[in-house]
Point group: C2
Chain length 404, copies 2
Amino acid sequence: MHERELTAYLDECRALVLDEIRAIVARQHAGGPNDGFLYDLMLDYPLRDAKGLRPALCVATCRALGGKLEAVVRSAAVLELYHNAFLIHDDIEDESLVRRGRPTLHREHGVPIAVNVGDAMLALSLQPLLDNVETIGLGPALRTLRAVARMTRESVEGQAIELDWVRRGSLDDADAQALDELGDADYVRMVEGKTCWYSFITPIEVGAIAAGASTAILDELREFARVLGVAFQIQDDLLNLAGEIGSYGKEIGGDLWEGKRTLILLHCMRCANPAERAEIRVILAKPRPAALERPSELEGLLTALVERGELSGSGRDAILERLGQVGQGGQLGTASRGCKTEADVQRLFALIHAQGSLDYARAFARAGLLDARARLAACQRFMPASVHREFLTSLVDYVFARER
Amino acid sequence: MHERELTAYLDECRALVLDEIRAIVARQHAGGPNDGFLYDLMLDYPLRDAKGLRPALCVATCRALGGKLEAVVRSAAVLELYHNAFLIHDDIEDESLVRRGRPTLHREHGVPIAVNVGDAMLALSLQPLLDNVETIGLGPALRTLRAVARMTRESVEGQAIELDWVRRGSLDDADAQALDELGDADYVRMVEGKTCWYSFITPIEVGAIAAGASTAILDELREFARVLGVAFQIQDDLLNLAGEIGSYGKEIGGDLWEGKRTLILLHCMRCANPAERAEIRVILAKPRPAALERPSELEGLLTALVERGELSGSGRDAILERLGQVGQGGQLGTASRGCKTEADVQRLFALIHAQGSLDYARAFARAGLLDARARLAACQRFMPASVHREFLTSLVDYVFARER
């Protein structure tokens, strides 16, 4: 499948799923007294420019296995709602600034409203899955519900592991030291939870359930999805460091600002000498500057006050240091220390480049993609040739292409 | 039922439900790679000192209708998990400082971890409801799932209405003016969503479903629950203004700091003269000071700098004003203005007292409680005398007692 056809397939699935999401939201809206504010915001992330990978994976798997479109669209829409709800909460948790080329929801409307919009999307997701009983039958409907229950559990667990690493990395004790022991297997386990389930395993599984696939086939497809998902996340980590705004839609280097332990960073720390490792640890331990200060709004004011002779230089530093104590989400820091600076992040970049950690991660992802390709080829036993199977194959190649 | 027996009944139900919650969390933990941090935090709110109203309502309704304890405990535990997940997210949304006599979860562990812990509790809640199929049968299990789906939708909708009022109240345009039109019916509708469903309607409904109650009985019980819930929330609003720390466990006057439109405040604005009304509007429009500044940590530093001659007075004001722009959850404010002060909140208190708005709200709640009592008495047709029915009756009286 050429890139144009691949894109057309993605777009078509995305359009189908967005129509279904609009219908789910409108049904709820019709029953409620709200003035529409909540409902508009629930559609905000889903309607932003996106590839629509998950809906397409779900639909293509169902149809490649001989299932009908009507059997899968509603569940695919629910998965996309869940995905976007997680994105809203993840963006709050990671203090991300940009999502799909626009400010994150909590930056535009505040954390309170963003938390509630995410919850609202999760809340809307249960009823359509119950309605599945009437359309795809009791057995598949319950299997789909179980798959979604598993997905949400695995996702929050993966997210918890990563948040816990960030939290411990900001400490200065034995708990933080233990992070030096983290290996590639720990990273893979975290990513399986954080990314693979909701982006790959469950969309593919739910598509297969809608097509009435056997347990053995479900197992085989899940394993393909898991391997593909890990490779995809590593590519994502690479893009986070190497991409350009515009083409990627997220902020660049955000993982480093957030102090995330990616495969790249774990490799860099393993290969660095003790002094460099200590240096990296100190930088990672610094909190990310709060959103307000990053665009240096307050800093500009303080500088102006210093220039006008209304504030001493040491007073300026004391104020910035005090504000630096407000790290993640307004939590009061435990130690008096400054935030990460542009220079800190540049230094991490330099160390990562020096250790060849990007090449290492590229090779790691490449091995995973070859594995995924072989696994999908093996699935051809029960998946006859079709445009849908072709889409799945091309998608693996597309993930390859993201690497280059 | 005397208060001691009522308390014993509440405690017993709470203990049963907490055991079940521990089992649900432990089952998930056994399957996951996490080090327990996430799981400890999921139990944090549930294990804090609480009355356990919802579990008791659920269990008592089931048993008063002749249902078995085993049929309802798991669902009651799930409702309690949902309730505590909502509390965590509500505390973030309302920027609350204290919950059940201790700092809120996001104050202790930061917003990112608190958002994820709430999500994790929601994620854990689906599987036990699916397991219900095996224990209480397919029909009741699906009815319970539908009841929970409705509950979550209504709750986020109610929360959205309130957040929207707070948001619009902080603006200075026609959208804010429209808030002056809000009447008691709007408040009741908001409270039905925000409180009644997850605290009263669904616990009672799920208990009745577990006992195999008919649709007609479910309708009657839901209406009783709705009426009781509205009265309960008004009492809660009164306690928020009138209570003392220690006996209540939340911060006092928090609703005023947050700019919430309670029945009390709506009455006060209706009765106030135009000048007072404008004054109230201006105070409500001010953002709540961020948690950091409230204990005046930064203010103390700035004052010290001014005293040492390192900062001018006007520079100090400019810094505070700039920081005041960061309102709810770090969102950048639209106008340059200061935060609510202690004096502002005292002024609101005074106006509320002057208009007799507390007495009005007390009378409103009392009418609702009398209605609830009558409705429960009518339910005696299908609810034979038992300790469980007696508990429900005593509970209505207990809500009365909170009033005094």
